[in-house]
Every structure is written in C-alpha cells, then in structure tokens.
Amino acid sequence: MSSVALTPEPKVSEGAVSAAAGVGRADRVKRRLTSPWATIAALIIAVVWTIPTFGLLLSSFRPADQISSTGWWSFFTNPQLTLANYRDVLFSGSDTSPQLGEYFVNSLMIAIPGTIIPLVLAALAAYAFAWVKFRGSGTLFVVIFALQIVPLQMALIPLLQLFVTFLQPFQDALAETVPFISERQYLPVWIAHTIFALPLAIFLLHNFISEIPGEVVEAARVDGAGHGQIFFRIILPLATPAIASFAIFQFLWVWNDLLVALVFSSGTPDTAPLTQRLAELAGSRGENWERLTAGAFVSLIVPLLVFFGLQRFFVRGLLAGSAKG
C-alpha cells in the first residue's frame, strides 16, 4: 500500500522487530537502499540547497554598503558583522509604523485559522468523496480538482465584491457591539485562504483517505457506526500524518502569502501580516534591501518551528502501527 505522507516510525519498528526476532540484525541494518555514494550525493544536494540561504543569512548580518560591493564569502577573509539590519527591521518603530511585533501577531492570527479551517473542511469533503457513495461523485471530484487552476488573481475581484456586500455588514456589526474588536478583521483573509486552499487540500487528502483499507471502514459500519463516528474515530486518527503534512504546507503558504493579504487585509496594523510590512520596509523605490535580507529571516523562523514541531507526525504513522498489530 502506498500513500501520501504516510510514515511508520522507523526506529520503533526496527527496535521492536529486532528485539522480537533477535536474528538477522545485520540484514536489517543493511535494509537501507543506499551506498556510500548515495550518502555523498545526498551531502552534495544538501550543501547546494543550503548555500543560497546561508549566503542570505550571512548577508543579513553584514553592513549595508558591503552587501552590494563585495560577495558574502568575503566574510571569511574580512569578518565584519552587524546587527543593524535586524535592529532596523525589528525596532524601527514610530507611532505611525509600529514595531514588527504587531504584524507578527497578525500573521499568526491569520495563519492558524487559515490552516485549521480549510483542513477540516477538506478532510470532510475528502471523506465524502472516498467513502460515501453518491451519484456524480466522480464528476464532482474532477470539477474540484480542476478548480486548482483558476488563477488566484482572477478570483480576487469577484471575491472582494462578495465580501464587501456580505461580510462587511457583519464585521461592522461585530465591531460596533464588541468595543475592543476593530472593524478591520481577519475574517475575509481566513475565508479567502480557505477557498484558495480547498481544491488542493481535498485532492491530496482524498488520495490518502481513499487508500485507507476498505475492511477497516466496512468493519466499523457493520458494527453500526454512522458516518460521523467513522470519520472521527477511524478516518481522522489514521489520516493524521497526511493532515499534519498538509498542515505544514498550508501554514507555509498562508504565512508567506502577500497577494491575498494585499487584497483582503486592511493593510493597517489591525490585520496586515508580516509579509505586507516587510514589503513596505523595502522602501518605495526598492532601496533598503539589506532590510529585506534580515526581514526574510525574521519571517523564516516560525515556518521552521512549525516544521520541527509537526515533523514527528511524519514519522509516526498510526496506520502502519495498526496494520502490523
């Protein structure tokens, strides 16, 4: 059986198997598909892939005038570092352009619901496509799949029209009733991100959920479990690795998004995310790009933390555990 992002815990299974069997240990150690050459190749790829980012990291600590006059590797012969770029980016606050912290909170408040909501909806839809039999399910699925190609840019204006006529009244009402909620809210951004994420999310999760062994689902149904119970008790736990991996990607996309934020957030500190602020920091005439280097790293931290945090889901495949008993 194959699956998207489905992973057993290699160390645990390895340990358990070898402890139980106690023989053929050498075989299992050699089970890797690799040779020393492969390791070298992997090292090369890793280095090549890291160098550009490393160059940026080093550049972000170099004085502004040096960035554009000498290569970053000249650091090794002429080490000269400064925190000025980061100081500019992090603390260049005034009353009109507040510090980055506020935008950071906005980014989080946009990205977290912007990840959870589409995931839940997509998981529900993917389950329906995979395990509920209804006429036209194939056609409907293809339609949703094909919707991936509707370019974001073409959807911005109609969606904005809808939001202004439908959502604005609710937002205004909420802002007027609850004193400390601004009339500029995250809601449009969440909905926009949800809509744009759904086709891909449904497609990916469907691929996974449909590969859950039919016997497991059938058995539950025979036991009298309804769709709701099957979804929560069987599908969701088994699909955790897939959901977690998609969650990482969705979080990254939302976190790094600028286009949706430009249109649907207000652009003010009330709702604008980090990306929007960083784009402004670059200056109206494209100068100050030493700030961009520092800014890029500031906004890189959270996605990396999320990757580290959710990575364990990649390697803890519950399905593999249950299949092996």
């Binding site: 290569g71 529900l124 839809a125 039999k133 949703i144 840019q153 969606l159 009733t177 961009l292």
Partner: protein
C-alpha cells in the same frame, strides 16, 4: 500595540475558530439525527420531558439579561446599547423557546409532513418579522443597539433564509415519487425568486444592492443540487453534510470567478464584447510565442527535475543518521516566500564586470575557474533556466517530504523479501519501492505542475518578464492589473486552463483505475 488590541486580535481568532467549530458540530449532529422521536404520552410527562431542557435555556437567558443589567454602570465596557441588546435578545430567545415548545405540543398529533411544514412557514414568518423589525428599529428606545450595519446583516441573511424555508415547506406534502424532483425545482425557484426580489427592490432604491442576490441564489442552488443528488437513497444523504461547506465556498470563491473570467476573456477594457480579439492579440504580439514556449519549458522541467531530485534525496537519506537535519536543509527553501527566494537568487546571479569583484556566487565560481563573468539573467535562453532553478530549488523540498513519507509506507517485508532474493539496491528500488509510491509520485508531479503554471512572483521579482523570460501567468497579472486590460488577462487565464487540462485528464484516468481496483 496595546493589550486591548492584542486581546481583540486573539479574541477574533478564538471566537472565529469557536464559531467554526460550532457550525461544524451542528452540521455533524444532523448525521446521527434519529428519524423519529418517540412520542410522549400525557401532559405531565410531556412537560417534564419537553420543558425541562428548555427551562435550562430560559434560565440561562434570564441570567444573561440580569447580568447585563447589573454590569451596566459598573463595568465600563458594558454600554447602554449592549445592555439593551442582551435583554432584548434574552426576551426574544425565551419567547422562541416557548413558542417552539408550544407548537411541538399542539402539532404533536399531526402528520410529520404537516408538522415540518408548519414549523418552516412559521420560521419564515418569524425571520421576516425580525428583519422588518430591525429595519423599523429606529425610534424604538429598547432597540437602540440595532445599528444600520446589523440591519443590513439581518437583511442579507434573512431573506434567503425565509425563501429557503418557504420553498421547502410545501414539498413535504407531495407524493414520494416526485418529491425529490419537486424539491430541486423548489430550490431553484427559490434561487430565481431571490434574484427577482433583489432586482425589484433595486428598482426603488438609490443604492444598488449589488451582487448579493446573485450569490445568495448561487448558494441556494448549490444546496438544492447537492440535496437532489443526496436524496436518492439514505446511504448517500450524509455526503451533504460533509460536502456542503466546501461546495458552498468553492462555488462563491472559485466557480463564480471562473465563469466570470471565461466571459471576461471575450470583452475589451471597457467591458464590451469583442469576439476573439484578445486571443488574436495574444498570438500576434511579438513575444507571445516565446512566452508560451517558456511556460511549456517551465511546466515540463520543473516538475520532472524537482521530483527526481527530491525522490533521489529521499531515498539517499532514508534511515540514515541525521535524517531530520538532512530533511530540514532541503525543506528550508519551502519556508521562504517566493519573493524572498527571488532576492536570494538575484544575489546568486549578480553580475559585475570582469575587472570588478564579483558579488554573485555563480559568477565568482565562473571566474575562479577562469571564465568570463556572465549576465546570467540577461542571456536568453539560458536565463529561463536560471529562473527555473529557483522554482526547482523551492519545490524539491515538497517532493522530498511527501515522497520520503511514502517510501516509509512501503512495507519493509517486501523490501526484505526482495533483498533475500538477491536483488541489488537499484532493483529493490525500481521493483519494490517505485511501484509502492506510484500514486504519491503522481500526486507530487501533478501538484508541482499546477503550482508551476501559476507561479509568477519569481519571474516578476527577478526579471519582470524582460529578456524573453516571461511566462503566461506573469503576462496575465501584468495585463489584468498593471495595464488595465482585464479581458486580455482573462484570455491568458483560459490558456493556462487549457494547458492544465492534460494533467487533469491523466489524473482522472489514474483515479478511475484505482476505483476499478478497489
């Protein structure tokens, strides 16, 4: 940032997620709703059964009202409007609870169909009354909290809701045979009614109502069609609950814009129909073919190379020491925005004359090996490859993470069996692992292909489409937004759609094969 701001922000997220959770929970409770509630005999028992849970709700509402009144004057944020709102809402709530209980009693002996019909009609009347009351709120002191915004919100929700309730009320009486079709017709009629109502209302008013009747009609139609599909048998009904939220969002957010784009492609900048002029323009402007060619190069090379490298990397590092660190390194570009990646690679490709110090790594290496520094981003056609590399650099992380997980899903027993049979590592890989991850490969290639077709940020930030590097997505953005030619932009969007069709068809075939196997 003040603490109040922060509270407001966090509150938005919490309330938003909570509301989302409640909606989802409500939807899912429909799933396991018992079809027939047992009838309760005798008034005393009925009161006990029916009134007790309602009493709790009533008590809660009264508590809220009293609390609001007590807090008024003590807590600064408890404004007069808020207090009035709490009290009025509590009274209305109590009234509704009691009314519903009363109806339940009165109609207890009536047929199921009559009961639901009466409930729906009354519901519709109630909604209309509330909406009208909201509109007349000005001047009623206790309703001072009903702001124009709130009224508008009520109107936006109220009318379609009432229409839907009425549309479905009459259906229950019809014979089973035609009920299903009648329901669909009723939903569609309701949709039409909303549009007509909207247009009629628009006549008398100065301010146009805009798109909302259309969108409401679209939403009602979606519900109707999905309901029609689901109503066939009991087994397919639950799909409504699972599919409805996604279907609604996709309809308003993507299908409606897609249709609009398709129409727009045949209009000029002023919105008048101009036939296929936009397509003629597209293929006659001097760089059109280069742009199309570039796009094809992109969509072939990027998915292939990033998947191949990602797969190789995933295999090489599988179960090696420091696998997580390895993964992290190649994954990192994924975490950088396209614009950030553009900056990084502009650095890499930067050019200085041969006599100066190079500041771009690539040219530094070229010089180190005795070459002449190159204008990497300017020398066509190699500059397209240089831009491609950026996308590959980003997408390899995606391919690697997904494929690595898939490889770990290949049963170890199969690999062991193969190695016992004396298969070489390459044979093990191509005979066991590769077939095992085939569907993941398809997914990865498909996803990267589509992402590649849509990407325009890289080209924009690095060359702005100059030097023969433009791609269709970039042209689309430029035409639609920068040049004020939405028609041309839409035409380019259609071309993109045509280019993605083969990918869709291929996936459909794979899907059907899988269905056949299952």
């Amino acid at each position: 940032m003040t603490t109040i701001d922060l509270i407001g922000k966090v509150l938005q997220a919490v309330v938003g997620l909570a509301a989302f959770g409640v909606v989802m929970a409500l939807l899912l409770t429909f799933l396991d709703r018992p079809e027939d509630k047992p009838r309760i005999e005798g008034w005393r028992a009925a009161v006990k059964q029916g009134l007790r849970p309602r009493l709790i709700i009533i008590a809660a509402l009264v508590l809220i009202a009293v609390l609001a009144r007590v807090l008024y004057g003590t807590a600064s944020w408890m404004t007069q409007e808020l207090t009035n709102a709490a009290i009025v809402l509590a009274i209305v709530g109590i009234g509704l609870v009691l009314l519903q209980w009363l109806l339940d009693r009165v109609l207890q002996r009536a047929r199921q169909a009559v009961r639901s019909a009466v409930m729906r009609v009354l519901g519709a009347v109630l909604v209309v009354v509330l909406v009208l009351l909201g509109q007349a709120a000005e001047g009623i002191p206790a309703l001072d909290w009903v702001t124009p915004a709130l009224t508008q919100a009520a109107v936006v929700v109220g009318w379609p809701l009432a229409a839907a309730l009425l549309a479905t009320a009459a259906i229950a009486f019809l014979p089973d045979r035609i009920r299903r079709s009648a329901r669909l017709v009723a939903w569609l009629l309701a949709a039409v009614a909303v549009v007509v109502l909207g247009l009629v209302l628009e006549q008398g008013q100065e301010r146009p109502i805009g798109v909302w009747p259309w969108a409401a009609a679209a939403a009602i139609s979606v519900v109707g069609v999905l309901g029609y599909v689901a109503d066939k048998d009991d087994d397919s009904k639950p799909m409504l609950v699972f599919l409805l939220p996604a279907a609604l969002l996709l309809t308003i957010g993507l299908i409606y814009p897609a249709i609009r784009t398709a129409i727009l492609a045949f209009t000029d900048a002023t919105g008048t129909f101009n036939g296929v002029d936009n397509f003629v323009w597209m293929f006659t402007q001097p760089e059109a073919l280069i742009t199309l060619g570039n796009t094809i190069v992109w969509v072939i090379l990027v998915p292939l190379l990033s998947t191949a490298i990602g797969l190789a990397y995933a295999v090489f590092i599988d179960k090696s020491r420091g696998e997580r660190v390895y993964k992290m390194l190649v994954f990192m570009p994924m975490a950088i925005s396209f614009v950030g990646a553009g900056i990084i690679w502009k650095f890499m490709y930067a050019y200085r004359g041969a006599e100066q110090d190079q500041i771009g790594l690539i040219n530094q290496l070229i010089v180190l090996f005795g070459g002449e520094p190159q204008q990497i981003l300017q020398n066509s056609p190699w500059n397209t490859l240089a831009l491609l590399v950026v996308m590959i650099w980003i997408q390899t992380g995606f391919a690697m993470v997904v494929l690595s997980a898939a490889i770990k899903g290949v049963p170890t027993e199969q690999i062991e069996a193969a190695s016992i049979d004396g298969a070489s590592p390459w044979q093990r890989f191509s005979n066991v692992v590769l077939p095992g991850i085939r569907s993941s490969l398809v997914v990865v290639v498909t996803t990267i292909s589509i992402a590649t077709l849509k990407v325009f940020d890289i080209v924009r930030t690095m060359t702005a489409g100059n030097f023969n590097t433009s791609v269709v997505a970039n042209e689309m953005y430029t035409q639609a937004f920068r040049s004020g030619e939405p028609g041309r932009g839409a035409a380019l969007a259609l071309i993109l759609f045509v280019m993605v069709l083969p990918i869709v068809v291929y996936n459909v075939r794979i899907l059907n094969q899988q269905k056949a196997i299952r």
